[in-house]
């Protein structure tokens, strides 16, 4: 992680169009204080679009991920027990293990095999 530093930089977030649209990061502006930053953002980022939400955040008040965080941000491989397919795989593995016990054959499939 890296805390933002530039005191005069503000990140701009906007929602264009329908209420159901996400509010997205769109860019940044330079200003000395938040109200001026908001007005700069309005002039630059709402020129054509139907903007329905406009936010700005001071860069120095934000925390940014860095390349070092990449592994800890990807949850798919690291936290596979959170994925929807996991309970099913878990059940099949359990059943196979039980069957193996009955027939005396050990399970040959790995726990992580795709279902």
């Amino acid at each position: 992680m890296r805390p933002g530093t530039e005191e005069d930089s503000y990140e701009v977030f906007a929602r264009y169009g329908k209420q159901s649209e996400p509010i997205r990061w769109v860019g940044s502006v330079r200003a000395a204080e938040p109200t001026l930053a908001w007005h700069a953002a309005k002039e630059i980022y709402t020129r054509r679009e139907e903007c329905t939400v406009l936010w700005i955040a001071k860069r120095s008040g934000m925390v940014f991920s860095t390349a070092d965080d990449l592994e800890s941000l990807k949850s798919g491989g690291r936290l596979d027990y959170r994925t929807p397919g996991f309970p099913g795989r878990h059940r099949r593995d359990r059943e196979r293990a039980a069957q193996g016990t009955r027939t005396g054959q050990p399970s040959t499939e790995s726990a992580g095999a795709p279902s």
Binding site: R2, D8, G27, S28, A31, I44, R47, R48, T66, A67
Partner: protein, 305 residues
């Protein structure tokens, strides 16, 4: 097209790997990304001056509104591209000062002004269509903050294009013969300027160029010139402008556009010494920098406040 290394829909290995500001950038990459974004920021800012001086002379209220919108858009493009440069360590103050103090050069098209209102439409149409061709190539580039800035800019450029098209159409359909002759003349004056705007002809070694290898520069100059001619010449023909084959035409044999080569010696001389309005634009920016120093310091809460 033979000029392009690969057709547009085939992935170009040069452009496969994209970069964010916070990624480890190859040696020299940061400098090239800063160079292209700060160069464009300056072009956007100085590029409004030939248009801005027409705001109080526009003979039509709706066109005045559209022209003001265009000028505001372009200044916004200057801010957006300056932000890309600033994040790479080149401040906007630096970009402006380098120009005012003569350390950076302007694109050839910004060394001129417009002599008549009739000239503004076709000249802007040629300029905007060229910028669109150029931006649509550049937005496929590898530096993502710059590519995002360009995609935002393109939407507004498209409005400028349609405004210029409509303005030219109005003159050609409702204007007097004298006014139509001014459009014709403007086309012939600006066509070679825009051909030169795309830069010198490709050399045999352009693919070794660092900017090109990094994938910051995407298409070659000649490829963009061809693409632009194919797009804009039919538009002018449809508007009723005569396109003299001595200026440009499709070569029957190659299927490519032939064009009268810009006088590169004269272009380079002008870039070095400054074209007709260069000094005026420079002085104007210098003056506004000085006049607004106090407000800028207050706005950025710097020491002078």
């Amino acid at each position: 097209m033979a000029d392009r290394a690969l057709p547009r829909d085939e992935p170009d290995p040069r452009l496969a790997r994209k970069f964010e500001l916070w990624d480890d950038l190859p040696d020299g990459y940061r400098e090239e990304a800063a160079r292209v974004s700060s160069f464009q920021a300056l072009a956007e800012i100085v590029g409004v001056l030939p248009f801005a001086e027409w705001i109080d002379r526009v003979p039509d209220y709706a066109r005045k509104q559209m022209l003001i919108a265009k000028v505001q858009d372009e200044v916004g493009h200057g801010q957006v591209t300056a932000r890309v440069a600033e994040d790479l360590g080149v401040s906007r103050d630096r970009i402006i000062l380098d120009f005012v103090e003569g350390r950076t050069k302007l694109l050839n098209v910004f060394h001129f002004g417009f002599d008549t209102w009739e000239e503004v439409g076709p000249a802007a149409l040629l300029m905007n269509s060229a910028a669109i061709v150029q931006f649509q190539a550049l937005d496929q580039g590898t530096y993502l903050p710059y590519a995002r800035a360009l995609r935002k800019i393109e939407k507004e450029e498209s409005f400028h294009y349609h405004h210029a098209l409509d303005h030219t159409h109005q003159t050609m359909t409702l204007g007097t013969p004298a006014q139509r002759a001014l459009v014709q003349q403007a086309f012939e004056t600006w066509l070679p300027r825009i051909l030169a705007y795309f830069g010198p002809p490709d050399t045999d070694t352009y693919q070794g160029n660092r900017m090109y290898q990094f994938g910051i520069k995407v298409s070659s100059n000649d490829a963009m010139r061809q693409e632009w001619l194919a797009k804009i010449i039919p538009v002018f023909r449809k508007l009723g402008v005569h396109v003299d084959p001595a200026l440009t035409h499709v070569d029957e044999e190659t299927g490519k556009w032939w064009f009268a080569s810009p006088d590169w010696v004269a272009v380079k001389k002008m870039l070095r010494e400054g074209g007709p309005r260069h000094e005026e634009w420079r002085a104007k920016i210098a003056d506004s920098l000085e006049r607004n120093a106090l407000y800028r310091d207050v706005a950025l809460m710097r020491s002078a406040a």
